[in-house]
């Protein structure tokens, strides 16, 4: 299914509200000091998926699908009762098949074992035989309710925007970036006429979309809205683009006369881009572009704010290995024109938990500048230790049901036996 999002399982069954998300983490919440750790785990796991996906040579879109599978699985399960690493391997394995670029099961097992046993994670017990992964695949597909078609923001981005100086039928060199969609009804609105973005800007929007998978946004909003929020942030934050837009709005009164030049401005752009860039861009009606999309702009702004709070959180997370991200394009969070946390889980909000991260900041943006926050930094090592502790405490509770918490030793195992 490619066009009709509104008729899809994605829309009908897998866009959830915040209350559902909270409910899904309820068990995990019993075992962490600070709920914020769960948001760090969301970043951490997305990074693991991305690393495994790259080792398996999966395209970005396949990695994104694997991440959505992972998030959906944990709408119904908790971290402390499952092994997120075997779940991650299964997500990559199923996503590769669902997106028609299958990897051999043996290969997935091998790559997962080697990645997970590396320093960052130190997992020595990852099963080496295929059957464990195959079994997990079955539980995963079952919990996903066989809904394997995932819509992603990338396609909307490439439908709405194109690289400056290219036209619709130029998608030959494109690879995944830049495939034109055949003319068909556009499910996201009625806009026609793509927005031309400078190459760097298009790239940035693409990376912002990649980054959103580090949060739970893919469970909360339709992908085309996430794409539009990414475009919106790009226009605001991509420096050369912003400069162009500013210049444009100053020149506005004179621009109408330039209108006819738009389609034929290709050779000009090749010749001397910098000097005529303002003129060339001036006839792009940005506001009109968003208006044409026929989506709620306040909703887009909300999503944009949530993306910014993700970056604020991510700023305090340190992990080796370079990910391609748009994070560095974002100004330090204090300079941001938005209030982080609106509409999303607030950072260390009022609750008097003994937050070991940054205790006592009482809901304010926790970090300013770079000094004096050594112990605010969250690392994979900290999160691995946390996961271990969560699991142990959970197991202890289960062994001594006096705590009054429900007993479910190994959900998966139990489920298998039950349904027999």
């Amino acid at each position: 299914m490619a066009t009709d999002f509104w008729a899809s399982s994605h829309y009908k069954r897998w866009i959830v509200d915040r209350a559902t998300l909270r409910q899904a983490r309820a068990d995990d919440l019993l075992y962490v000091d600070d709920p914020e750790y769960l948001d760090f785990l969301a970043i951490f796991f997305a990074n693991v998926i991305s690393k495994l996906g790259k080792k398996l040579l999966l395209r970005q879109r396949v990695i994104a699908t694997a991440t959505v599978f992972f998030r959906r699985f944990y709408l119904k399960n908790s971290y402390c009762e499952t092994d997120p690493f075997i779940v991650i391997a299964a997500c990559c394995y199923v996503a590769a098949k669902a997106e028609e670029s299958p990897a051999h099961i043996k290969n997935v097992v091998t790559e997962a074992r080697s990645l997970f046993s590396s320093e960052n994670y130190g997992i020595k017990h990852f099963p080496s035989d295929n059957s464990k992964l195959a079994e997990m695949e079955f539980y995963l597909v079952d919990d996903l309710e066989c809904d394997l078609t995932i819509f992603h923001p990338y396609r909307t981005l490439m439908t709405l925007c194109r690289k400056e100086g290219t036209s619709d039928d130029d998608d030959a060199e494109a690879g995944e970036l830049g495939v034109g969609i055949e003319s068909g009804p556009r499910y996201w609105g009625n806009g026609d006429g793509q927005l031309e973005l400078q190459e760097g800007a298009l790239q940035m929007a693409w990376f912002i979309i990649n980054d959103t998978y580090r949060s739970e946004l893919c469970l909360l909003y339709p992908p085309h809205l996430i794409a539009i929020a990414a475009i919106y942030l790009t226009l605001v934050l991509h420096v050369p683009t912003r400069a162009t837009i500013q210049a444009q709005s100053q020149a506005e009164p004179e621009t109408p006369t330039l209108q006819p030049r738009r389609r034929s401005s290709r050779q000009a752009s090749n010749a001397s881009a910098p000097s005529n860039i303002n003129q060339k861009k001036s006839n792009q009606d940005i506001i009109g572009f968003f208006a044409e999309l026929n989506v709620s702009m306040p909703l887009i702004a909300t999503i944009a704010q949530e993306i910014i709070s993700l970056y604020a959180l991510w700023d305090r997370y340190k992990e080796d290995g370079n990910v391609e991200t748009a994070k560095n394009s974002f100004p330090a969070q204090t300079a941001s024109p938005y209030t982080p946390g609106t509409g999303s889980k607030r950072t260390l909000s009022g609750t008097s938990r003994s937050g070991s991260l940054n205790s006592g900041s009482g809901g304010e943006t926790p970090i300013e500048g770079g000094e004096d926050n050594e112990d605010n930094v969250v690392t994979p090592a900290i999160l691995m230790a946390l996961l271990m502790k969560m699991k142990e405490n959970r197991a202890a509770d289960v062994a001594h049901p006096a705590s009054g918490r429900p007993v479910a030793v190994n959900k998966m195992l139990e489920r298998t036996q039950l349904s027999g």
């Binding site: 028609e100 099961i105 079952d142 309710e145």
Partner: protein, 371 residues
């Protein structure tokens, strides 16, 4: 039992499973009922019990697409649930398929009947293509027919998305007799036109009551095709000699379709020829086909409930599948000798049909891998 399990067991309780009615490569099919209404259903149990190699690609594709598709002429997936270590797909129960109907020599087809089946096939296919899904295995055996006569596209085990153009795909798809020449020549970038070719072959088969292009091997399939439709010229199909697996297979003259389809109307032959155009881009599309004069000319298509139907229903079907080599002593359509037609299609040269299928069905490692 947690909420997830509870939901599953509740779903499971909605259905009962009766006797086995058939078996495919990756699933066993049972007849069952919806407990609350008594409605007959088919329960397709995907074999995963031994957890050896993970879920079959066709199982993944079938659930992936059936979960999304909803159309009168596409088989309906009513529910999914798990039991022990099996996934179960609950499908609407479909009594028969077009292959059985074609082979039932006691049935007589009127032109209006054929038009009705063609219309339903194109409607189902247009819906798939509109949603950028290729079926890639259309043949009479995969066009199932409900008790009310509605025809449904089924078996999405080879289906795939084509919304992002420019991706290399495997050419090892579509059962040979229904496979278009561009796939036989190894084309890796193809589109909805491949399904249209298959529909053209089915159209012809409905008139002939025997497969139209029954090649005995992939090479012979090209020959059979060209013998029937003439060897394509460069003008007719620019660039085809540059396709990866192009081989010259000899020069065959064009013979008018009229020579073989003696009783068909001009509209009929016009639509048929547009489905069997060599150049894929010039082949008619599903939507365009539905607007073809054929569907507006008299006779009007038969009402589905009035269509001919096999009297031997699903109960006898499994049996027939085992030994049912319906002996067709009818000569093939001016092409091959009787040999290939004598075997029941399902079992015909199982070696290569299954082989080529399972290659595609198993794993296609040929995707361009980009970071």
């Amino acid at each position: 039992m947690d909420a997830v399990e509870k939901a599953n067991s509740e779903r499971q309780k909605k259905w009962t499973k009766d006797q086995k009615v058939g078996e495919g490569t990756y699933a066993v099919v049972y007849r069952g009922r919806e407990v609350s209404t008594g409605r007959k259903v088919a329960i397709k149990k995907i074999k995963v019990s031994q957890f050896k190699d993970g879920l079959d690609m066709s199982a993944i594709r079938e659930v992936k697409y059936l979960r999304e598709l909803q159309h009168q002429n596409v088989i309906e997936l009513l529910d999914v649930f798990s039991s022990k270590t099996n996934l179960n797909l609950v499908l609407e129960f479909l009594d028969t398929d077009l292959e059985m109907i074609i082979k039932d020599r006691t049935l007589v087809f009127l032109p209006a009947d054929i038009k009705s089946w063609m219309a339903m096939t194109f409607r189902g296919l247009e819906y798939c293509h509109r949603n950028f899904i290729l079926h890639r295995d259309l043949k009479p055996n995969n066009l199932l027919v409900a008790s009310d006569g509605q025809l449904k596209l089924a078996d999405f085990g080879l289906a795939r998305d084509f919304a992002d153009p420019g991706y290399k795909m495997t050419c090892q798809v579509i059962t040979r007799w229904y496979r278009p020449p561009e796939l036989l020549f190894g084309s890796r970038y193809y589109s909805a036109a491949v399904d249209i070719w298959s529909v053209g072959c089915i159209f012809a088969e409905l008139m002939l009551r025997t497969p139209y292009l029954p090649g005995e091997s992939d090479m012979d399939q090209l020959k059979t095709t060209f013998r029937a439709l003439g060897t394509p010229t460069e003008e007719e199909w620019p660039g085809h000699t540059k396709l990866p697996d192009y081989v010259p297979v000899g020069q065959f003259p064009k013979t008018p379709l009229r020579d073989l389809f003696t009783a068909a109307s001009a509209d009929t032959l016009n639509l048929l020829s547009k489905c069997l155009v060599y150049e894929p881009r010039k082949r008619i599309g599903a939507k365009e086909a539905l607007n073809h004069p054929y569907f507006f000319a008299l006779p009007n298509p038969s009402h589905p409930s009035k269509l001919p139907k096999s009297s031997n229903m699903a109960s006898t079907r499994a049996l027939e599948e085992v030994d049912g080599n319906v002996d067709q002593n009818v000569a093939g359509p001016a092409v091959k000798a009787a040999a290939p037609n004598r075997l029941k299609r399902k079992l015909n040269s199982p070696g290569d049909e299954l082989a080529s299928r399972s290659i595609a069905r198993r794993l296609d490692f040929s995707q361009p891998k980009q970071p």
